[in-house]
């Protein structure tokens, strides 16, 4: 383990270095396969473009559908990328080594999740305003859309990590992961799409955005522990 | 009596509900019985006497 501390104590001082270590490592690995990241982003764009083709290009209807479509596509894109979080490390035995390291496992998992979000959720959130224009989302709506996605996509990564860890190495893998995680995504979807909707309705997005923020705090604190427990379960 | 079955015109919905519930309950009980039978069979085969008998080609 490059640069890992020699001591085996799990004190509070090992948390941030652990997060940083996992974050830097996963970012380096992700940036090596930039093409894969690009493909996932492209998936998002394509899915968003499918809905008008399947329904109607009529602007009013698109404006109604838009926030929902953009959010559901973000959910699907998140699902698609979740296996990347643990699967490769699990397959070649690195995950076991990581779990044995002196850093607290929840800290390492947090670092991994952060790297995952930076390479999947963040690009989606930044790209969304552009796609929002396709759906007649305008002005303040686009701002709120981006803000909501910036708050919501980390929650998707956090909750998704729990599912990804629980389903490590299982045959059914991907679809099982979707079944486990999508019900948990529902509140994020409701408040995220609802934020943009409420702007369209002239009601103001404060409530929705605040709830997303609160959800992010709770998930950020709780999910790494649940995911770390799930990783240990898969490794035993 | 026919009033009872008609349920004020809502017979399909009321009897459909009660009937479907009875069906689901019956299915659960029957499938549990079948699962128990299979489990008892497997348990019987796994007892030490039967295991040795199986390896000796008796079972």
């Amino acid at each position: 383990m490059p640069n890992a501390p020699a001591s085996a104590t799990l004190d509070a001082g090992a948390v941030l270095p652990g997060v940083r270590w996992a974050l830097v490592r996963d970012l380096k690995l992700a940036l090596r396969s930039r093409a894969e990241l690009g493909v996932q982003l492209l998936f998002y764009v394509i899915v968003v473009s499918l809905f008008p083709l399947a329904t109607t290009p009529e602007r009013n209807l698109l404006a109604t559908m838009g926030p929902g479509v953009l959010w559901v596509a973000a959910l699907l894109a998140s699902l698609l990328s979740l296996p990347r979080l643990f699967a490769a490390d699990y397959a070649d035995g690195t995950l076991e080594q990581i779990a044995l390291s002196p850093y607290p496992l929840p800290a390492l998992v947090s670092g991994k999740i952060l790297a995952h979000w930076l390479t999947t959720g963040l690009p989606v959130a930044l790209l969304a305003p552009l796609l929002g224009l396709q759906y007649a989302v305008e002005g303040e709506g686009l701002v709120i859309l981006t803000l909501a996605l910036l708050l919501g996509t980390p929650i998707l990564s956090l909750l998704g990590a729990i599912g990804a860890a629980l389903t490590l190495g299982l045959r059914a893998g991907g679809s099982l992961l979707a079944l486990l995680v999508l019900p948990l995504y529902v509140p994020v979807l409701i408040f995220g799409a609802g934020a943009v909707d409420s702007v369209r309705a002239g009601l103001g997005a404060t409530a929705n955005v605040s709830l997303l923020g609160a959800g992010l705090l709770v998930a950020a604190v709780g999910a790494p522990f649940a995911a770390a427990a799930a990783v240990r379960i898969a490794l035993d | 009596m026919s009033e009872f079955f008609a349920m004020g015109g809502y017979g399909f919905y009321v009897w459909g509900s009660f009937g479907a519930t009875a069906l689901v309950v019956a299915v659960e009980m029957l499938s549990l019985r079948a699962r128990r039978r299979r489990a008892l069979e497997e348990a019987r085969l796994a007892t030490p006497d039967n295991l040795t008998a199986a390896t000796q080609g008796v079972l």
Binding site: T167, L170, L180, P183, I233 | G8, R36
Partner: protein
Amino acid sequence: MTSSNWFRYSSPATFYPVAGRMIPWFGWSAAVLAAIGVWIGLAIAPTDFQQGDAYRIIFIHVASAWMSMFIYIVMAMWSALFLGFNTRLSAMMAQAMAPTGALMTFIALLTGSLWGKPTWGTYWAWDARMTSELILLFLYLGVIALRNAIDDPRRADRACAVLSLVGAINVPIIYFSVKWWNTLHQGSSVSLTAAPKMAMTMLTGMLIMALAAWFYAIAATLFRVRVIMLERERGAAWVGELQEVKSR
């Protein structure tokens, strides 16, 4: 009552006969209660002024909906007990409850849908309670699917326990968000599957059906947990000594 007494029952070998004695008691009580409840629901309770005889579906719908939520909570409690005390039986109880809970949820959805059509004109109306019930069904199916996907029983126990607890924590959040979503979009203050104003007989009938559903769920769970014990403890000595295994 010392703690050692409780832990004595946490071994499958000791709980198996205990459960076996409990099943007929709960099963027959459920049958009698259900008979009384159905009789009240279909024959005794008066026809509702607004909904006609269609409202009689609530005698099943409410009982199954309550049970679907109750069973999930109890399943989560057994999961917590398992993660805390590492008792195999706790995990088996959680495993045994999931299918019954899923079926209760299914019945709640089906009867709710059949109630909705004559009363509100549509089989599915995306109201808060039915939508939450649907998501609850997905949560149940997820736990069951995860159990089936993992071959190692120990790993399955622990994974399903974590999943159940994560789900249980999320259920209030999901319900709150769905209610929020629904009030925003419905606008009207009428709850879509509102029960009619309760005459005493209606209330009694509903409570009796709820009790019947509860006892049935207990009987089904105990029956299933015994089967699970037989499946998972197959080679154990105590299983070989059972009458029903020896006498076949």
